[in-house]
C-alpha cells in the first residue's frame, strides 16, 4: 500500500513537469517578458530602463528556456522556465507581480474557499444521493417522472441564473442575509448561507440525475433480484445492497473533487465577494498576473493528482476485491 502510494507520487512528477511546460509555452508563445513589463508599467511612455528594471525585479531578465551564454548546467538552470518552475515543487510560489507573497495569500485565502466549498460539497452529496434514491425507489411512477423532468429543467438553467436570482430574491427583496461580503470567525455564517444554498441547488439537477442512473443500473443486476427473491423489503435492498454497490461509480466522480475544494469556486466567490482562492484567481486573470495564474495552475494540478490517488485508495475501502499493489 505505502509502496503503491509512493510510486503514484513519483508518477506525478513527469505529469507536473508536463503541466509546467505546457502552461509556460502557452504564456510565452506570443508574450515576451518585455511585453509583460510594458503591460504592468502602463503601455505608454515606458523607457527601456524601466522595462529592464521591472524584468530584473521580477526575475524575467533571463532567456526563456535555454541560456547559451552560461556555462555547464547553468545553460538550463539560469532560465526563466527553470527559476519559475522548480521552486513550485517545494510549494514556494514566489511573489506576485505587485510584490505580494503568493504562498501567504494562498494560505489566508484557502480557508474562506473551503468554508464555502466544503458545505456545498457535503450537503450537496447528501441531498443528491437522497433525492436520487427516492427517485430510484419510486422508479417508473409519477414521482420518478416528475423528479426527472425537474432535474432536466434544473440542469438546463444557467448557474448564473441561480446566483443572480438568489441574490435578488433573498438579499435584495427579503433582506434576509447580506448580498455579498465576508467576515472571519463565526460571523462568516450569515455570509455563507446563501452561496451554500445556491451552490447546492445549482448542482441538484445534473448530479441527482447522474446518481439516479447509477442506482437504476445497479438495480437491474442479479444480486438485487436475489435479494428481493429472498423476501427482503425494498428499503433494505436499496440501502444495504444497491447503495453499497453503487459506491464505486459514485466514488469515481466524487473523491477526485475533494482536494480541489481548496481551490474554491471562481464564479460564486466573486459574485458573493468571498475572499477565497477562486476570486483570487479571477482577479489574477483580469490583471494578467502570470505568477499567480502559474501558481494556481500548479496547485490545481497537484490537488487533482492527489484526488486521483485518493480515488484509488477509496476503492479498496469500499470494495474488498480491489487490492493496490
Amino acid at each position: 500500500m505505502i509502496g503503491y502510494v509512493l510510486r503514484r507520487l513519483l508518477y506525478a512528477i513527469p505529469i507536473l513537469i508536463g503541466v509546467n511546460v505546457f502552461i509556460f509555452t502557452l504564456f510565452f508563445a506570443v508574450n515576451t517578458p518585455d511585453n509583460m513589463a510594458r503591460i504592468h508599467l502602463g503601455m505608454k511612455r515606458v523607457t527601456p530602463d524601466a522595462v529592464a528594471k521591472w524584468k530584473h525585479e521580477h526575475g524575467y531578465d533571463k532567456p526563456l528556456l535555454f541560456n547559451a551564454q552560461a556555462a555547464g548546467t547553468q545553460k538550463f538552470t539560469a532560465t526563466i522556465f527553470f527559476t519559475k518552475s522548480v521552486p513550485m515543487f517545494a510549494f514556494k510560489f514566489g511573489a506576485a507581480d505587485d510584490g505580494r507573497d503568493i504562498g501567504q495569500d494562498i494560505k489566508t485565502r484557502m480557508l474562506p474557499s473551503l468554508a464555502l466549498a466544503a458545505p456545498v460539497f457535503l450537503l450537496g452529496l447528501l441531498l443528491y444521493i437522497t433525492f436520487a434514491l427516492t427517485l430510484a425507489f419510486f422508479r417508473a411512477t409519477y414521482v420518478d417522472y416528475v423528479g426527472v423532468v425537474l432535474c432536466v429543467a434544473m440542469m438546463s438553467i444557467s448557474g448564473l441564473f441561480y446566483i443572480i436570482g438568489g441574490q435578488f430574491l433573498i438579499s435584495k427583496l427579503l433582506h434576509l442575509v447580506p448580498i455579498s461580503g465576508y467576515q472571519y470567525g463565526t460571523d462568516a455564517f450569515k455570509f455563507l448561507v446563501l452561496p451554500v444554498v445556491i451552490g447546492v441547488i445549482g448542482g441538484l439537477g445534473s448530479s441527482s440525475r447522474w446518481y439516479r442512473t447509477i442506482f437504476l443500473e445497479e438495480m437491474n443486476r442479479d444480486y438485487v433480484r436475489t435479494a428481493r427473491a429472498k423476501g427482503l423489503p425494498e428499503r433494505i435492498v436499496l440501502f444495504r445492497h444497491v447503495l453499497r454497490n453503487a459506491m464505486i461509480p459514485i466514488l469515481t466522480g466524487v473523491v477526485v473533487v475533494i482536494p480541489t475544494l481548496f481551490m474554491g469556486s471562481l464564479v460564486s466567490e466573486s459574485f458573493f465577494g468571498i475572499p477565497g482562492l477562486g476570486s483570487y484567481t479571477i482577479d489574477a486573470i483580469r490583471s494578467q498576473d502570470f505568477a499567480i495564474v502559474h501558481a494556481m495552475v500548479f496547485l490545481g494540478s497537484v490537488l487533482y493528482i492527489v484526488g486521483l490517488l485518493l480515488t484509488d485508495i477509496s476503492y479498496t475501502w469500499v470494495d474488498p476485491r480491489v487490492r493496490l499493489s
Binding site: 505529469i15 438546463s156 471562481l266
Partner: protein
Amino acid sequence: MMPQFTPLWTDWLIYALLLIIAVYIAYTRSKPHLLAPWRKVMRSPTAIASSVILLVFVTIGLLDSIHFREALPQQNNGEKTVYSAEIISLFDRMATPLRNHVEKTYSAPLAVNLFAMESVEQPDGRVARLFPRLKYAGSHLGKDIEHSTRDQWRLFIKGSLWGAVIWVLLCLVLNAALASHARIDFSQMARRLWRGDTELPWRTLLLTIGMVLWLSAIAWQIAPRYHLFGTDKVGLDVLYLALKSIRTGLIIGILTTLVMLPFALLFGIMAGYFKGWVDDVIQYIYTVLNSIPSVLLIAAAVLMLQVYMDLNKDSFNSVVERADVRLLFLCLILGVTSWTGLCRLLRAETLKLREFDYVQAAHALGASHWKIMTRHIVPNVMHIVLITITLEFSSLVLAEAVLAYVGVGVDPSMNSWGNMINSARLELAREPMVWWPLAAAFVFMFVLVLAANLFADAVRDAFDPRVQ
C-alpha cells in the same frame, strides 16, 4: 446590385459541418441498421418536440452565418461598385427594423417612453422632467400614442390569426399527405392524428410547430413596431440581441466538439488498439491536460490571444473579423480541454473491441492496422461519439455564459447570452430595476439548452446499447 459575399472563418466551418451532415445523411439513408436508431429517436414525442425547437434555432443561426457586404448606391455610372465596410448577415438583413431601431437608452418591454426621466425643453421654452417618447417604438401611431396598448392588442390578435391560419393549412396538407400515404380516408386519418394514434408522433410535431408559428407570428407583427423585449443601455433592441446570440451559442456548442473530434478519435482508438508505449504516451498527454483546471487553461489561452491581437492589430480588417477569430480560438481551446473525456471513453471501448473475434479474424486474414481501425473499430464506436457530442452541446452553451463572466469568453463586441448577462447583471441593483435584458438572455438560453438536453436524452436512449 449583388452584395459581396464575405464569409468569416466560422462560417466556412459551419458550411463544412453542413457538408458532413449531408454526407452522413446520404450514407445512412441506404443502411437500415444505421437508420434504425434514428427511427427510434423520431418515435419519441419529446425528441420530436425538441428537434423542432432546435431546428428553429439552427435556422436562425444559419441565416446569421451567411455574411456579406452590401453594395453602396452608385454615385455615377461606369465606376466600380463600392461595398459597404460593414459586414452583415442575411439574418441582419431580414431583421433590419430591429437592427436599425436604436433608441437612446433603456426602455421597458413594449414601452413607448424611455425608462429614465430626462429634462426636455418644451416648445414654450420651459424645461420639464418627463419620460421622453421613444424614437421608433410606436412611431407609426403618430399623435395617437395613448392608444398604444390597444394597438399592441390589435397586432397580437392579428399575429395570432396569421399563425393560426398558416398552422391550419399546414395541418390540412400534412393530413392529406399522410392519408394518401396510408391509403385511408382524409377524415379517418384526421381522427387518428387527433388521438395521437400514429407510428410517428405527428400530433406532437404539429402542436410544437403550432406553438412556434404562433409565437413567431406575434413577434413578426409586434417587433418591427415596438421593442418586444425592451432596449438595453445603449438603446439596442433586446430581442435582436438575443436572436443574434443564437449563432454564438450554437457555434460554441457544435464547433468545439467538431474540432476536438479528430484528436479524440485518433488518439483514443490508437491508445486502445496498440496499447504499450503508444497508450502510455497518449495517457500521459491527456492526464496532463486534464490535471490543469480547465477554466485556468482557457483563461491563460484567451489572455494570450488577447496579447497577440493587441500586438498584431493590423492583420484584422474589421471588428467582426476580430471577434470571429476570437470565437474560433475559444472553440479550439474549449475543445482542447474537453476532448480528454471522449478520448478516454474511446480508449476503453477500443480495448474491449480489439479482443473481439471479428477483429482477431480480420487481423489473421492480414488486414492492416489502419484498415482494422477505420473499418472495424470506428463504425463500432460512433454511437459513443454521437452521444458525447449531443450531451456536450448543452454544457458548452452554459459554459459560455460563465466564461463571459470571468472575462475570458467571446469578444465583448460579439453578441452572446454570456455578454448580455455579464453587462446586465448590475442592472438589477438599479432603482427601479432593469430586468429584461437578463430575462431575455436566460429564457433564450434555457429554451435552447432544455431542447438540447431532451434531444440528447432521446439520442442516448436510442444509440446506447446498454440502455436497450
